[in-house]
């Protein structure tokens, strides 16, 4: 469950943001989860709660929203745009796990469905990011 490490990053990032913006209480935190990393919402949700500092007043009342972002790719040689499903997805469990750890391993595991090139751009849906933070 390396999700804990990513949840930890999210919490630290939110607190850093609060620090820099002089925010006393974070009210809402929208976290985006890219499809490519195949992090299960429930796992990540659990990780966030586990990692959350018990005595952290700035986060105590924050509503945390998890959004999933579909992955979209564009092939550089042939300009074809495709989704994860259209690429055929990971062939083996090992491929899925490799991309779960390092989404860039898509270039080792996936191919453009039109021209088979590994030289594609990941337009959206990579990994964990913070979409927005609200506070007061």
């Amino acid at each position: 469950m390396h999700e804990f490490a990513l949840a930890d990053a999210v919490i630290r990032s939110a607190l850093e943001f609060a620090e820099q913006g002089g925010i006393a209480r974070i009210t809402k935190l929208v976290v985006r989860i890219g499809e490519l990393q195949t992090i299960a919402r429930e796992v990540f949700d659990y990780a966030l709660k586990e990692i959350m500092p018990a005595a952290e007043p700035r986060l105590a009342e924050a509503v945390i929203v998890l959004e999933t972002e579909p992955a979209r790719f564009r092939c550089r040689p042939c300009a074809h745009e495709f989704t994860l499903a259209e690429s055929g997805g990971p062939k083996e469990a090992e491929d899925a796990e490799a991309m779960h750890f390092i989404p860039e391993l898509a270039h080792a595991c996936l191919r453009c469905p039109r021209c088979q090139s590994p030289d594609f751009e990941l337009l959206e849906g990579r990994g964990v990011s913070i979409a927005s933070i609200e506070g007061e």
Binding site: M1, H2, F4, E97, P103, H107, D119
Partner: protein, 241 residues
């Protein structure tokens, strides 16, 4: 907002010192020096990590003979212990598959590795850098500002040309150069010493060209018996007294 940027410092906080092995040029033995240095630290009883940041041409797993397979997950990724060295490389996840990565992918993959790897307490973290003055080299300076650098060079004219550019750049980026070491030294030549002096960097001596190194690759036991390793162990004492 990229949450990974907020956690890199914390993940590396347990490492007392961080040393990047660089030089700009490929094939001068950066990976052999980095791997042997990590091994020498472990054999001297130090807690040591080795991070292979040559993401599109990783070789440290071959040099150390690291076993294949995904690392353990425990509130992050635990770098497997390999001949006493905590080891992390893209190959831990990619295995044999070639991973062509453009610059932005290198930055992302490198940042992901830094964000999820739990090194724990280390006396030293050795970072093996790729050739070239590209994304990995610049991200190492940017994301790990307290990293120091060991520059590997040799007497060849094409190597000198490349290492000179690398040294100029490290100096400009205010990255502390701990020293320059000559590798694959065959006879007494003064080129590398002069190159170091030119850039105000300490010259840390020469590692011999060693015919017995190549057959020892893949086994820490055999590596540790080479004259090359003996010379790296002496270098280790200078760098980590």
């Amino acid at each position: 907002m990229d949450p990974r940027l907020s956690v890199v410092g914390a993940r590396l906080a347990g490492a007392a010192r961080i040393l990047g092995v660089t030089g700009g040029k490929g094939g001068i033995g950066k990976s052999c020096v980095a791997s042997a240095l990590a091994l020498a630290l472990a054999r001297a009883g130090r807690r040591c990590g080795l991070l292979d940041l040559d993401l599109t041409g990783p070789t440290d797993h071959v040099i150390l003979g690291a076993p294949a397979g995904f690392p353990e997950e425990a509130h992050g990724v635990e770098p497997p212990l390999c001949s006493g060295v905590r080891f992390m490389s893209l190959t831990c996840f990619a295995g044999e598959r070639p991973a062509p990565l453009r610059g932005a992918d290198v930055t992302n993959a490198l940042l992901e590795i830094l964000a999820i790897t739990r090194w724990g307490e280390l006396d030293a973290l050795i970072i093996d850098l790729p050739p070239g003055l590209g994304d990995a080299a610049m991200d190492c300076v940017r994301l790990i500002p307290r990293a120091e650098y060991l520059v590997v060079a040799n007497a060849s004219r094409v190597v000198q040309e490349t290492v000179r550019r690398n040294l100029r750049l490290l100096t400009e980026m205010k990255a502390p150069v701990r020293g320059v070491v000559e590798n694959m030294a065959r006879s007494g030549s003064d080129e590398v010493r002069r190159l170091a002096a030119e850039h105000g960097a300490p010259f840390l001596g020469s590692l011999p060209f060693d015919e017995t190194l190549e057959p020892a690759i893949g086994s820490a036991e055999r590596l540790a018996r080479t004259p090359f390793f003996a010379a790296v162990s002496a270098l280790r004492k200078t760098l980590f007294p």
